[in-house]
């Protein structure tokens, strides 16, 4: 009687000890299989900041910087922790719990963060990309060539996303009523493929990898590039908490320089950049490189100018806030100055020097 009991307790203790302490698995591990990166400029050893960075698997320079460990190479004494997020909404939530210092999100979530009721103390400090054909409207019926042809049809889009914003802008520009002329349904991308297969949706405004999947049996009629040309661009933005930016200007400078380095690699040496993107996205470098066409990447000098972070960005955020208010995603449209204060071109300017 005693022996099996002792044995059982022994087994349990051993199992518990093994799982709890013995071989811990730490989160936020970086790809150790990448080659040692040298900082492309003189590393700043004086930075000892510990930074928590929220990233998303979107093919832009942020992933290149992460994969090549540029930040670590240029700030050897800083502590950097990356966390992966599935959507901008999740990053906003993480800001709310003060769990991140720097994070990537679309222009819609960024506007939500700056507006009532959240009023998060964050700023837009970087444009990771301008969304082009990467977010497109695919239609199953190949005889439909424009938005008007979708009258009475069901269109799926993740509500509150940049794609949603682009779709509503496009509808507005075509004088179509989003409530009467079409049926919009809120669907996460990964669920669209099944709904598409089951013919429950006629069209979707979505991004990769689902976009490529739907394109196999459908055709693209519009993209975020078109809405951007019509004056309503959408972005993937780099945001940072105000407190962090204020306390760590040297870190922000290095961070922006690293991003700029990544952008230049994307435009000048896409083959090299595609390898890093491939590692992060889990696709082949060839496929990764194709994704670049869907985005526009801007170097630091261009980001800082009047057409972007310098001035235009705050107007774009203000326009987005009006859209979000119409959707009930925010409680009210703040004064234009709120969005102007919510954009900080400082790090981009520093990096451009």
């Amino acid at each position: 009687m005693l022996r099996p009991t002792t044995l059982a307790i022994g087994v349990t203790t051993a199992t518990l000890a093994l799982t709890l302490a013995g071989c811990g698995v730490e989160s936020g591990r970086e790809a150790s299989t990448s080659k040692e990166t040298k900082c492309p400029w003189t590393p700043d050893k004086s930075v000892t900041t510990s930074a928590r960075i929220a990233y998303q698997k979107i093919p832009n320079a942020d992933l290149v910087v992460k994969d090549l460990s540029v930040l670590k190479a240029c700030m050897p004494n800083a502590k950097i922790k990356y966390s992966n997020f599935a959507s901008g909404g999740d990053v906003v939530q993480a800001y709310g719990s003060k769990s991140v210092d720097i994070g990537l999100m679309g222009s819609s979530p960024a506007t939500i963060a700056l507006s009532e009721p959240l009023n998060l103390p964050v700023s837009v400090v970087w444009i990771h990309d301008v969304i082009g054909t990467a977010e497109s409207l695919v239609v199953r019926d190949k005889s439909v060539n424009d938005l008007k042809g979708l009258k009475g049809k069901t269109i799926a889009v993740p509500f509150g996303s940049t794609a949603h914003f682009s779709l509503l802008q496009a509808l507005q520009d075509d004088d179509m009523d989003q409530a009467k002329d079409v049926k919009l349904i809120n669907l996460e991308p990964e669920k669209m493929a099944a709904a598409w297969q089951g013919k429950q949706i006629d069209a979707a405004w979505v991004w990769d990898p689902v976009l490529s999947e739907l394109k196999k049996t459908g055709q693209v009629v519009l993209s975020s590039e078109d809405t951007a040309e019509a004056g309503k661009p959408t972005y993937d933005l780099g945001t940072a908490s105000n407190d962090f930016v204020q306390k760590n200007p040297a870190f922000m400078k290095q961070w922006a320089k690293a991003q700029d380095y990544g952008v230049k690699m994307l435009t000048d040496d896409p083959e090299k950049a595609s390898e890093s993107i491939a590692v992060e996205l889990g696709v082949s470098p060839e496929d990764a490189q194709k994704l670049f066409e869907g985005y526009e990447y801007l170097p630091a000098a261009q980001q800082a100018d009047q057409d972007h972070l310098g001035k235009k960005m705050s107007e774009d955020l203000f326009a987005t806030s009006k859209f979000l208010f119409g959707q009930g995603s925010i409680d009210k449209v703040a004064a234009p100055t709120v969005y102007a204060d919510g954009v900080d071109a400082g790090p981009a300017e520093e990096a451009a020097k």
Partner: protein, 300 residues
């Protein structure tokens, strides 16, 4: 058509005696001297399922995005456990899936479940004892326990993230909150199930209060408590995906979710199978523990 009906049921007319026909059949299924051992049946069913799966995908009745072939699932499983090139013909190597091996994902989830359920045991059993022995505590806390028990974890994970951040703390809290109510409930029902006359009997025989606790109460409640822990571990498994939806890498639930969003169906299925096997194995371990700790269970 009446004849086949009779033929269908030969045991009824078995000359060996209708009395014995049923039990002997069951004994065979129970795994004894002759015929079908339960494991043989199980393995046959498993093989048949795999064959069906293979056939359906081989004939391309379903697109691979919705149901990949068993081979590609196995392939995804192997790749997720090894260092492999990012694509065929490319030098750059990557580690497992999302920079962790699959077993590390599993281990990370097991750690969270271990801590969550461990805390639930430490907190849940004393709470159950208090609730069942001190009347007013039971009256006050029972509605809250029932309230908590009925909440879906997906509903309040967002709240826990805002309170405890995106790290492991919020995940462990979620698992704890999912795991402790069943343990507490089991403890309560265990204590209530102790027969009063048994306690009175040892008391009359001169046992002290403490002795009555250690010799009657604990052994009598232990089977229920262990059962509660089993249920709690089951709950923890179902909750782990919800817990790992945000920043859940490493974590097997987080990996399954991430693979789903990236439309990597083979890896998603591999994760599901691994979760299932791990859960069954853990359950088996607890069952074994139960056999060792409370061999008298079911023999009262």
């Amino acid at each position: 058509m009446a004849q086949p009906a009779v033929q269908d049921n030969p045991s009824r007319t078995d000359p060996a005696g209708s009395d014995d026909a049923f039990p002997s059949r069951w004994r065979r299924f129970g795994g004894s001297e002759s015929g079908f051992h339960p494991w043989i049946i199980r393995i046959t069913v498993l093989a048949a399922t795999l064959l069906m799966w293979w056939l359906v995908t081989k004939l391309e009745l379903v697109k691979p995005l919705y149901l990949p072939t068993p081979g590609s699932v196995w392939n995804a499983f192997v790749l997720a456990n090894t260092d492999h090139p990012v694509a065929p013909g490319v030098d750059r190597m990557v580690r497992g899936a999302q920079n962790y091996y699959l077993w590390e994902h599993l281990l990370a989830s097991l750690q969270r479940i271990g801590i969550g359920v461990g805390a639930a045991i430490i907190f849940g059993i004393p709470l159950g004892l208090l609730m069942s022995t001190v009347k007013w505590i039971g009256i006050v806390t029972e509605p809250y326990l029932n309230f908590l028990r009925s909440l879906p974890p997906l509903g309040y994970i967002g709240l826990l993230i805002v309170w405890f951040g995106i790290g492991d703390t919020s995940k462990v809290w979620l698992l704890f909150l999912a795991a402790f109510p069943p343990i507490t409930m089991a403890t309560i029902s265990g204590v209530r199930g102790v027969r009063e006359d048994q306690i009175n009997a040892v008391l009359t025989l001169g046992a002290s209060r403490r002795q009555s606790l250690t010799t009657v109460m604990v052994p009598a409640t232990l089977p229920e408590v262990l059962n509660g822990i089993r249920v709690a571990v089951g709950f923890a498994w179902t909750t782990v995906v919800a817990a790992e939806l945000n920043n859940g890498i490493p974590g097997i639930g987080g990996l399954a979710y991430a693979a789903g969003t990236e439309l990597k169906t083979p890896l998603t299925i591999a994760c599901i199978i691994v979760i299932g096997i791990a859960a069954v194995a853990l359950d088996g371990l607890i069952k074994l523990l139960e056999k060792l700790l409370v061999p008298w269970r079911g023999k009262a």
